[in-house]
Symmetry: C2
């Protein structure tokens, strides 16, 4: 036992998720989140750079795992094949947090500020995947296009997944979406 209650970060995250869900993101104050966690506004800002970031802790981990999947794939894999591998890695992570995904997604969908933050996380992810593709000797344009296509497929698949009454696996949905994209691109 330390001198303070442990897991301050986790307590702040729980408090924020609960309050954002109960009263809405904009109607919730950082001071209220901190109070609910038994802490201070100032301490909140020591753990999270701003009021939005508390919902996005762990996105770097996802990014690392998707990049690692690209790096670990066989040498002859095509660009979109590597994106498929990255999406499979994302699927593992998403299934782990399935129970929180719905509520969190609805909160984000309710606020423009939060959507903006989610989009820049996706852009960061795309940039990281593009770097990994360039390291594999793909050209700049191909790397950028394939990487952003990866986040496109991820988001489209994610939205189908969170609301799916059949609880279909994310991997399944994402693979189907990627196949559909290939189809679109080869048609016409």
């Amino acid at each position: 036992m330390g001198r303070w209650q442990p897991d301050a970060r986790a307590r702040l995250q729980e408090a924020a998720l609960a309050l954002y869900g109960e009263r809405g993101y904009e109607e919730t104050t950082v001071a209220e989140i901190a109070e609910r966690a038994g802490l201070t506004k100032r301490t909140f800002f020591r753990y999270f750079t701003d009021k939005r970031e508390v919902l996005f802790w762990g996105s770097e981990l996802l990014e690392q795992q998707m990049v690692a999947a690209i790096e670990a794939a066989p040498a002859s894999t095509s660009a979109l094949g590597l994106i498929g591998a990255a999406l499979d890695a994302a699927a593992v992570r998403f299934e782990e947090v399935r129970e929180f995904a719905g509520p969190r997604h609805r909160i984000i969908a309710s606020s423009r500020e939060l959507q903006e933050r989610e989009l820049i996380k996706a852009a960061s992810l795309a940039a990281a995947m593009a770097r990994a593709l360039r390291a594999r000797r793909f050209g700049d344009t191909v790397a950028a296009l394939a990487a952003r296509t990866g986040t496109t497929v991820m988001h489209v698949a994610f939205e189908q997944w969170v609301d799916d009454p059949n609880q279909t696996a994310f991997q399944q949905i994402a693979r189907d979406a990627l196949a559909q994209l290939r189809e679109i691109a080869s048609t016409g």
Copy 2:
């Protein structure tokens, strides 16, 4: 002549662009922008909902023109063909504002807040194009994938275009990028 200096909005935009460029976005205060335009902080917020929006005035027009291009295309056009038509419409607009595009782009690239705003504008554009595709009887998934692919190609092409020493036409760059995307999707 009116009772006030006319074009308050334009003056605010000019002042903001100049100050963001000279001193940086974060170091510039809304009060300073308003003062430079001979107005008040309160008036700034009557024209623009926030400090970021002053750089994005006119994005609805681009959105409308791209959607109109989709609606005006021949009935048998494929999904990516429609996206190509939308990109051609965007090209017209971009060439009109080429001289401002570079400075504006560098300002946006310098600030996370501004990048977030740009990304949500792109998301709004993608949603509008997806609606236009659904109105053409494309399925939800196809519409969402194709529309987001359109913004992907637009952004990748835009970045090549603004820094291009040869001043290549945006339309050319965008068409090449779209062709490359088709190539990626059909390979492997």
